[in-house]
Structures are given as structure tokens and as C-alpha cells.
């Protein structure tokens, strides 16, 4: 049987005018739904002086208020829920900020829609029923594992739900069961590649032929290195828990940007300072509007990712708009080893542990893995002339950071007043990873 070129051809290759019409119809209904069922939205819209009847189609999208991460924190845990809780079947969650995580709710239809998006990404990467898909993204609250797992089921692939870690077992299953498609973070793909090479495997003896890698920034040179080591074609995938999870957009064989699943999501680019929509082709902040989601339908959600949209036709035949790989952030969020980290989280821990909030974060890259170092000033009242006592404080701080962030930095205590103060522009983050080309 010939391989499928698209998972849902009628949608993925729908003429642009028809997509716009579909989006307009869905938007009008979605706005009515949230205005009626989510008091928080109703208040936001009332404050902005917008009524559902003002929204006739996507040309009126700009009239709607933005939703930001702070709105999600404020409405935690149920304030953004748009259906009765009894209609929800699952939650997923982000890696969390200052103690309050974002919880996204899903109805069964929401999960189906999300898994369809992942199935489209898998077919676009050349997968089909006869493939064996190794999902080495984390499973659990993180959307990576569950999303690709569901998409792989929909395509009909044999799915290996490996989750992340335990590299030895990953390699055993990959080689014994002849996995052909690998889904994980790019840094883990690079690590698996190095481990396979050390064990004597070559691109010819590694069964993989494609990989779908996302959840963290990666460069063209990293893509090339992963492709050469594993003997595969590497595809990018993009998504965020707030909007659904991986598969909001995905790369096709042309690899000239990621197709946004426009039947489900409207992508906009705005000026991050003024909030004004920018024309296609201009660089700005990416904003998403969910058209079909029932439980957690965010409208005009500001991703803080800086991107460009490209509406020129793609030779793969898909008509959906392509977004560039994010080129940076319009806030101070860092993605470290696939986990979202905000400086404010680190400040909270430092204050809780009795340290001054004077710190510096250094991010680097060794063997395609992030290094994460936090330099903290030792306040006089924490000083002790016993190394053991200081080491205990250092360890307790390290444990608290790990528990807050989900990943553990190396902690270095430095002398007081050696880290630049905040009067001048304090350099809190030194990122030497060169993640953007």
C-alpha cells in the first residue's frame, strides 16, 4: 500500500479562502460560547467593550482582548473552564511558574482534535501504519508523551511508550523492535545518537528513518548533526499546553517552516509592545486562538514566542500557513532541558531559603545538552566557618530549586556584592547556548 501523504487531505489541502471561511464560522461560535460560559472572558470582553455580536469573522479578531499567562494563573484552577467539569476527561500541565502551574482541561473531543494534529505531523514526517514509533518524550503532566502517543495510535503505528530517560532501555527497544520514528526533545535525540555511536552503531545499523523533535529550541547545525548521527530526517514540531500540546504546528517534507493546523487554530503575529497585529512576513509575537477546543478554549493567547508567518504556497500541497521556528521570547522565560523556567521562580526560592535575590544564571551547551549554573551570593548571616555547614545550605538551596523548577541547577556560592546590582541593567541571565540561528 502506498504511504499516505496527508492524514486528513481534505482539511490539510483545503483552499485558503475556504479555510478563512471555516475559521470565521468557528470563531463566531467560539466567541459566543466563551462569552456565555466563562465569566472571566465575559468580564474581559465587557471591559474592552466587545460583544459577541461584534465578531462576524476573522476580520474582527483584533477586537478581542488578549489572554496572557497571568490570566491563567489568576483563574487557577477552574476559572477558564468553559464546560462542566464532568465533561472533562483529562488535564495536562505546564512546568509551572512561581508555585502556580497552568492546568489545561480536555474533553474527549479536545483530545481527539489534539491527537489528530499529532497524527498529521507523523504522516508529514513520512510515518504510516507499518512504522514503529518510539515516543521518548516524558509522559504524565507534560504534553509531549501523551500527544505523540495519541497521534501514533491514530496513524495506526506500533507505539513504544518509552517516556524519557533510561537510555540503555531506550536503545534496546529501539534496536530490538526496529523503531523507525523517534519522538523526543532534540537534546535527547542528540544524546541517544551519541550513546548509539559509542555502542558501535552506525547510521546504517540504526533502524530509525525519521524523528519528530520539539519542546525546546534547536539550531540548524544541531539538526544536521542529529540527522547524520542517526541516519534520519529530523522534523520540527511546535505546541504549547495552553493551546493543546505538540502539534499546534509541524514541519512537512519541505522543512520551510511549520504548518499551523488552521482549521483548529488561528495564528496571528502582533507587535509585543503595542499589541497591534502585524502583516504576514513581519517578525513579532505569536498569538493563538483556539477554534474547536471545548474545555479550555483560549482566544488570542500570547505565546511570547517571536516568529514570522509565511503564507506563500508550500510545495508539499498543504495550504495551511507556516510559522518560523521561534526566534526568541518577548518575556524572560528560558527553556532549559525542555523545561520552562522563569527567573521569578528562582527569586522565590532564594528568598524562601534565606538568600539574597542577587543571582546570576549561566546557560551553556555541552554535547548538545544544556548546562544550568546558578551563582548566588552568600549573605553574611548564612556564613559559617565550617565547610560542612555551608555545604548543607548549598545542598538545601539546590534541592529547593530542583523541587520548584523540575530540573536541578549546579549551585555556586559567591562572595557578597560580587553580582551586579539591579540599579544598572543587571545581567541576570547569561545564555551562551546559541540556540537561534
Amino acid at each position: 500500500m502506498d504511504k499516505r501523504k496527508y492524514y486528513q487531505p481534505e482539511i490539510e489541502t483545503m483552499p485558503v479562502e475556504q479555510i478563512k471561511k471555516l475559521q470565521s464560522e468557528k470563531l463566531v461560535k467560539q466567541v459566543e460560547h466563551v462569552y456565555k460560559d466563562v465569566p472571566y472572558y465575559r468580564d474581559l470582553m465587557d471591559k474592552k467593550g466587545v460583544k459577541p455580536e461584534d465578531i462576524h469573522g476573522i476580520e474582527d479578531l483584533h477586537k478581542l482582548p488578549f489572554i496572557e499567562k497571568s490570566d491563567l494563573r489568576e483563574t487557577y484552577p477552574y476559572g477558564m473552564l468553559a464546560v462542566p467539569l464532568e465533561d472533562c476527561v483529562r488535564i495536562q500541565s505546564t512546568s509551572g511558574t512561581t508555585g502556580r502551574r497552568v492546568i489545561a482541561y480536555y474533553t474527549q473531543k479536545d483530545i481527539d482534535l489534539w491527537e489528530d494534529c499529532c497524527a498529521r505531523a507523523l504522516i508529514a514526517a513520512g510515518a504510516d501504519k507499518e512504522d514503529v514509533v518510539q515516543v521518548s518524550y516524558g509522559y504524565g503532566l507534560f504534553t509531549g508523551g501523551p500527544g505523540l502517543n495519541g497521534g501514533s495510535h491514530k496513524v495506526g503505528c506500533l507505539t513504544l511508550p518509552m517516556s524519557s530517560g533510561n537510555t540503555e532501555r531506550q536503545i534496546q527497544f529501539m534496536t530490538d523492535l526496529k523503531a523507525t520514528v523517534l519522538c523526543c526533545t532534540p537534546s535527547y535525540a542528540a544524546y541517544l545518537g551519541e550513546s548509539l555511536t559509542e555502542m558501535g552503531y552506525t547510521p546504517d545499523t540504526i533502524p530509525l528513518k525519521a524523528g519528530i523533535f520539539g519542546a525546546e529550541p534547536w539550531t540548524a547545525s544541531m539538526r544536521k548533526s542529529i540527522e547524520e548521527t542517526l541516519g534520519i530526517k529530523a522534523y520540527d514540531i511546535y505546541g504549547l499546553t495552553e493551546i493543546s500540546g505538540p502539534g499546534v504546528s509541524f514541519e512537512c517534507s519541505e522543512q520551510g517552516g511549520m504548518h499551523v493546523n488552521e482549521d483548529h487554530f488561528i495564528a496571528e503575529i502582533i507587535n509585543p509592545e503595542t499589541g497591534e497585529p502585524l502583516p504576514d512576513g513581519q517578525k513579532g509575537e505569536l498569538v493563538f486562538t483556539c477554534l474547536d477546543k471545548e474545555a479550555f478554549p483560549l482566544l488570542r493567547y500570547r505565546t511570547r514566542d517571536i516568529c514570522v508567518l509565511n503564507r506563500t504556497p508550500c510545495s508539499c500541497g498543504r495550504t495551511h500557513v507556516r510559522m518560523s521556528k521561534p526566534m526568541g521570547r518577548s518575556d524572560d522565560m528560558m527553556i532549559i532541558r525542555g523545561v520552562n523556567v522563569f527567573p521569578s521562580q528562582i527569586e522565590t526560592v532564594l528568598l524562601n531559603e534565606g538568600f539574597s535575590p542577587n543571582y546570576q544564571i549561566k546557560l551553556g551547551r555541552v554535547n548538545n545538552n544544556d548546562t544550568f549554573d546558578v551563582y548566588v551570593e552568600l549573605p553574611p548571616e548564612q556564613f559559617d566557618d565550617s565547610v560542612k555547614n555551608i555545604a548543607e545550605k548549598e545542598k538545601s538551596l539546590k534541592d529547593a530549586l530542583r523541587s520548584m523548577l523540575g530540573i536541578g541547577p549546579a549551585v555556586h556560592l559567591v562572595a557578597p556584592k560580587t553580582i551586579a546590582r539591579s540599579e544598572g541593567k543587571a545581567v541576570r541571565i547569561i545564555d551562551e547556548r546559541k540556540l537561534h540561528d
Binding site: 553574611p380 566557618d385 555556586h412 559567591v414 562572595a415 557578597p416
Partner: protein
């Protein structure tokens, strides 16, 4: 009993120690002993000085983190086994030593030792009972 020890936190980088000794020299502080405990990132410099308060003030004024602690100091006969006997006593009485270092002395027949233990009171009474001489500020 005991003597005052000044401790200062220094980062493990070039010139840190020199800066400390330089500051003390300019303030005319006389050092009787110094001991450094180091890790890969930082070190703790412990000093016995002729004027602990002045030493601490000079260091703190220059932006360093420095504190003063009273540590146990004792004199043992300057002969083989002199220190071993004292440590044996402490161990058999359940006193754990955090750190220990030698102190310069002008006496020729005595070796002076500075020590921090997990139970100062007990350590001092054990040593005294065995006839080991404890030192105080007057000896410095």
C-alpha cells in the same frame, strides 16, 4: 576559655587570598595562624590574629563576609604522640572534631593547637581533667 578566630569567605579565584592578607597588612594586623578549607567554588580562611575585632572590621569594611568565633586552643608537649594523646581522649569521650590546625608559639617545648568540635564545653573539660593546658586570649 578559648581564643577568637576570624573566618572569611573567599571565592576560589585568582588573587582572593592575597587581597585578604593585603587588607590585614595595611591595618597592621599580626597573624598568628591561618588555615584554609577549600571546595571547588569557594574557600574559608580561618585566622588567629592579634586583634580579632580589628581584623573582622577591616575585612567587612572592604565588603567581605567575615565572622568571629571562639575556638578551643590547647598546648600539648612538643614530642611524638603529644597530639595523638589529646585526640584519643576527645574521641573516647565522644567529642567530634570539625577542624583542627596548628598555632605558632614562641615556647619551644609546647605545640599549640586550635580546634572546633561539636561540643566545646565537653572538649575543654576532658582536656583540662587530663592536665592538658587550655589557652586563652592572653596567650596570643
Amino acid at each position: 576559655m578559648g581564643i577568637k578566630q576570624v573566618s572569611v569567605f573567599v571565592e576560589n579565584k585568582k588573587g582572593s587570598l592575597h587581597e585578604i592578607t593585603d587588607l590585614l597588612a595595611k591595618a597592621n594586623v599580626d597573624l598568628r595562624s591561618m588555615c584554609i578549607a577549600d571546595t571547588s567554588d569557594y574557600g574559608i580562611v580561618r585566622m588567629i590574629a592579634d586583634d580579632a575585632e580589628r581584623a573582622q572590621k577591616v575585612l567587612c569594611d572592604a565588603g567581605h563576609t567575615a565572622n568571629i568565633r571562639t575556638v578551643t586552643a590547647f598546648a600539648v608537649p612538643d614530642e611524638p604522640g603529644g597530639l595523638a594523646k589529646a585526640l584519643n581522649l576527645l574521641e573516647s569521650n565522644g567529642v567530634n572534631i570539625e577542624y583542627l590546625y596548628a598555632l605558632i608559639t614562641t615556647a619551644t617545648d609546647k605545640a599549640y593547637t586550635v580546634m572546633r568540635s561539636d561540643d566545646t564545653e565537653k572538649a575543654e573539660s576532658v582536656l583540662l581533667k587530663s592536665g592538658i593546658e587550655l589557652l586563652d586570649e592572653a596567650h596570643i
